[in-house]
Symmetry: C2
Subunit: 356 residues, 2 copies
């Protein structure tokens, strides 16, 4: 309870002024003589008054100065993924500049607590959520400004993100152009195991796989040209387990290029390849996605799709703040770029097996 805590009234009485004068002492010091202000602060200190209660202020003003952020599924994944962290960093950075705070909401946990319903925020940012996630419905029910990033697309709400399928297709064309004809694609499963709700949970990842596959088909390759592999989690051990069978195939059946739907996964592939003595890029080309910081310093430096998640975070926050101010907010057009570094090259020359 707040019972016993001093309030504006308590302080006002003690200082011998009106409640409004106390309020002004904190919020509009220029409307006050220095002597009165001093008197008020002294009374406040004596009573142990901690300043005007933000809950009261927020109710009265109708603004909280806070933006709520919902991140994809389990927080562990969110914090473990550098891309997610970069996005969050961008959001935090933009909000900090505007003096707004960031309320990080759990999308799971005891549902009885309904964190979304209790969140004192002016707007929500949804990042990489599936459209069927219950939290999304909770957010929409609040009827506050919403911005989505990555997914889902919601009609009428600004969206920040790239066309993943298209970017993945560009990766495919890059590899095809180098002469590759046997491919692997590495991703993470659509849903954490034992998840009750069905359906795709990492729409971005799926779109990347889809776009890559489609581009190969468009180039006239048969479906067998692409082998799909799933890692249980993002950590390197799991990646190694997932790709080892593929990389242990005889060279004539092994993919010459591997597309990982995330840089973290791609870095795991580099490790696994090194472990198995498969040279990158001469015997295996590897492409990632996101262009996280480690991508540029990996050995070899990783060819990847750059999409500046930090900037996307900033954008999302900026849009949210515009909506709060009642200004129009349009989804920005973002163009991811393929950054060709040292992990892709022409496939090894085929030993005889010549074309007619």
């Amino acid at each position: 309870m707040t019972h016993g805590r001093p309030t504006l009234d308590t302080v006002a009485e003690r200082a011998g002024v009106s409640r409004m004068t106390v309020s002004n002492a904190y919020n509009r010091p220029d409307q006050l003589s220095a002597a009165t202000q001093e008197k008020v602060f002294r009374a406040a200190a004596e009573l142990g008054y901690g300043g005007p209660d933000p809950a009261g202020r927020s109710l009265r003003r109708g603004r909280s100065g806070t933006v709520g952020v919902l991140l994809t599924e389990r927080l562990p994944y969110a914090f473990a993924d550098p891309g997610m962290v970069a996005f969050l960093h961008g959001v935090a950075s933009e909000l900090a500049d505007a003096g707004q705070a960031l309320l990080l909401l759990p999308t799971e946990g005891n549902p009885e607590h309904a964190p979304v319903r209790n969140a004192i925020v002016d707007a929500f940012i949804l990042c990489s959520l599936a459209a069927d996630e219950p939290a999304v419905a909770d957010v929409l029910a609040r009827r506050l400004p919403v911005v989505t990033a990555g997914s889902p697309h919601l009609t009428g709400t600004p969206f920040v993100g790239i066309d993943n399928a298209r970017a993945a297709a560009e990766v495919a064309r890059h590899l095809l152009g180098l002469g590759h004809r046997r491919f692997g694609v590495l991703t993470v499963p659509g849903r954490p195991e034992g998840s009750p709700t069905p359906g795709p949970n990492r729409p971005a990842q799926r779109a990347r796989v889809q776009g890559f596959r489609q581009a190969l088909a468009d180039a006239g390759l048969p479906p067998e040209a692409l082998t799909g592999v799933e890692a249980a989690t993002h950590d390197r051990a799991a990646v190694a387990v997932a790709v080892r069978p593929l990389l242990r195939r005889p060279a004539s059946h092994r993919p010459t290029a591997l597309f990982a739907t995330t840089d973290v996964l791609a870095l795991g592939v580099l490790d696994a390849a090194a472990e198995l003595g498969i040279a990158v890029p001469s015997r295996l080309s590897v492409v990632g996605f996101d262009d996280i910081a480690e991508a540029a310093t990996a050995r070899p430096p990783l060819t990847t799709v750059a999409q500046s998640l930090f900037d996307q975070g900033r954008s999302a926050a900026r849009l949210a703040l515009r909506l709060v101010d009642g200004q129009p907010a349009r989804s920005p057009r973002l163009r991811p770029t393929l950054v060709v570094r040292g992990s892709t090259a022409a496939p090894p020359a085929r030993p005889t097996r010549g074309t007619p």
Copy 2:
């Protein structure tokens, strides 16, 4: 403004019931006939009512269901440091279990906005702040429950953290026991460049250096036995720049053991050593601090001090929640453990240069 938004009253009038009935429909459905509840929800839907406003609820109840977290200095560093992220993850995880939300507050930015003063929270967690940081004073002025982690120590507030100097001393004794006599210590600068306020800003890092140095002195080594090096930032390039001069010394003057005050730094050292062709651990022993996930999978696996920042995050959150509930909260006694892995070994046998 909230102007025009429907409220409990609006909905009550439309549904032909009292305001309390509407409130109960949302918060105590069991106190209500199903028919009435349905009627209320229909009216709410027609009016576009988003449910009871949490600001009003929070004011009335005197609880917000939110804990504020202040992280060390610039957010970039916080998000870039896996240890920090692990701590935050622990906090978020514990809070999610309790159905509480996490308000991430910027410690810098436009000071006019005073995010700490406006934060609607039930308690604060301060992580790795310097005692002289203005945000600390702002937090104390709020007179809410506070827990600190890592630093600073504040009398009367529970503290979560280890004795850094002592842990570093254990590292020193481990290395001394292996036979090392020439040491390097790598850390990051105490303050970001251009920072206006003076004084140490990474007290934990300083304590580690200090404890290490002291343990060497206690063992009777002269000050020259330890060379201190500072990396500008945590990224590997900066680490390489910082340690290269040290590692390029002739073998007879090069430290045989390097203590990095952070695992991230230590991993950078491993990279730099590999680049210069210096074998670890046979020619150089490396020790880190924190035991982040990558430490175990590095090559070679990193000897480091494990302090489970995730658990510390959980602890801090749990203590904060206890304080909010008016229960006593005692600082836990935490014992970091030295995890000896593959990056430390006896120094190379000295070539002749024998002892008497």
